[in-house]
């Protein structure tokens, strides 16, 4: 599904990604862990086509990211730190706008169903600017999946969420996984990573230093590995 070969990204003479090689199969839910400044979000931004790589090859569904970026964007959902929502628009207006951009059919019904799915149907016609952080994040999740993407890129999606919003987010990710969506999640929240992911990648200094599978939501195993590779060495 996702094939990355010798990916590098340089910015202002600083090498942020140093030859990343990664292969992710369809339907996998992968957590990317690592200390601040390791290059996790940059990797996600390169995949989301927000920044251009310095060198390397990225193929998604067999298509080259450089040449087929429009086709690839159609199957990709991206949720960064920010909500990417228009403040003065209501959840419905936001979702209809982005749905139309992605060419979603029956966009209004889809938007209403999504707002209901994230538990905010009472606020369908309220401007987003009046919402709390948790409510905004729920609508942001809905925005990221409005076009039913095959690949979901999440950048620290659990940050600042209350328990209810975390449960809703995890349910959304798991239901997308059940439909065969491939998910890449950058996170510092090991508990959530162990809860919903089946593979963990640890990034340090722009390189993948470990790549392993987890079973039975083994949080202790993830923490132990991370401490060994990241905190133990530094």
């Amino acid at each position: 599904m996702i094939e990355i070969k010798k990916l590098t990204k340089q910015a202002d003479n600083k090498l942020i990604l140093r030859g990343v090689d990664l292969s992710i199969k369809k339907g996998e839910t992968v957590a990317i862990l690592g200390p601040n400044g390791a290059g996790k979000s940059t990797l996600l931004k390169v995949l989301a086509t927000l920044i251009k790589p310095t060198s390397g090859v990225i193929k998604i569904n067999g298509m080259d990211l450089k040449k087929n970026h429009i086709e690839i964007k159609k199957i990709m959902g991206y949720l960064p730190h920010s909500s990417l929502l228009y403040d003065h628009y209501t959840p419905l207006e936001n979702l209809i706008f982005f749905g139309n951009i992605y060419g979603v059919k029956n966009v209004e019904q889809r938007a209403i169903a999504l707002v209901k799915e994230v538990g905010l149907s009472f606020f369908l016609n309220e401007p987003v600017k009046n919402f709390s952080r948790g409510m905004i994040q729920r609508i942001a999740i809905a925005r990221a999946i409005v076009h039913e993407p095959e690949i979901l890129l999440l950048d620290e999606p659990h940050t600042g969420l209350d328990q209810g919003a975390i449960v809703i987010l995890n349910n959304v990710i798991l239901s997308m996984k059940a439909k065969g969506t491939t998910t890449l999640m950058v996170t510092h929240d090991f508990k959530q990573a162990a809860e919903i992911c089946d593979r963990i990648i640890i990034v340090k200094n722009g390189k993948i230093v470990d790549d392993f599978r987890i079973e039975n939501h083994n949080l202790g195993f993830v923490s132990e590995k991370y401490e060994q590779l990241v905190e133990g060495v530094s």
Partner: protein, 226 residues
């Protein structure tokens, strides 16, 4: 075709936002009104030489009211990083430019539609020139100014002092357009005997518009990267 579809959706979004917030056009219209009132006090409308000032006043309104709108067009996409939402969507960067251009141009035309008749009314201006040619000159001048301005607004939006940077970049590049349209407007409004000279200015502005619109359209991809 996809470029135009997404551009229209984006323009529609911007115009609907404006309808809801009334942040840009109200400011532009108030500014235009103030300029007209101040100039009407400064120059006696009863004096025959006053009509020589009118072409300049028209373009002062268009340029400065235009900058007010241009400044906000990309800065508004920085809140909640909505620009990233557009960049990850399946649309070309040229679509974003085109959508923003259409929205800015539409707002500019509405401001002109309100302010120019008000200007003529307050200056008691008797129109002896050609109205279609006057409309053509205003259209062409606004088109070029907004086309270049939209591109430079995208460029300046990433700077911390973008509101200062935009006029600094915009004025030198749009000077040929402004000289051309002010001259053409002056001839069309006050001295139709020199109409052939106005046609030459219109041709110059049209060529400038086309060249810069195409250049901006092609280069926007390099400007919008995060």
């Amino acid at each position: 075709m996809n470029i135009f579809r997404t551009a229209l959706l984006l323009a529609q979004k911007d115009l609907y936002s404006e309808l809801k917030t009334k942040q840009i056009m109200v400011t532009q219209i108030i500014f235009a009104g103030l300029v007209i009132v101040v100039f009407s006090f400064a120059f006696d409308p009863a004096n025959n030489t006053t009509k020589a000032v009118i072409p300049g006043v028209i373009w002062v309104i268009i340029v400065f009211a235009g900058i007010l709108g241009l400044n906000r067009s990309f800065i508004s996409e920085q809140r909640n990083d909505t620009m990233q939402g557009l960049l990850v969507a399946p649309m070309e960067a040229a679509s974003i430019y085109l959508g923003k251009f259409i929205a800015n141009f539409a707002m500019m035309l509405i401001v002109e539609l309100v302010s120019i008749p008000f200007l003529f009314l307050l200056f008691d201006f008797k129109f002896y020139g050609s109205i279609p040619y006057f409309i053509l000159v205003v259209f062409l001048g606004s088109f070029g100014f907004i086309a270049i301005g939209t591109f430079l607004a995208a460029l300046a939006a990433n700077s911390k002092s973008s509101e200062m940077l935009l006029p600094l970049l915009l004025f030198p590049i749009t000077t040929p357009i402004l000289i051309g349209v002010v001259q053409a407007t002056r001839i069309i409004l006050t001295n139709m005997e020199k109409f052939s000279s106005a046609v030459a200015w219109i041709q110059l502005v049209t060529a400038y518009d086309i060249i810069f619109f195409v250049v901006c359209f092609l280069l926007i991809d390099y400007v919008l990267e995060v």
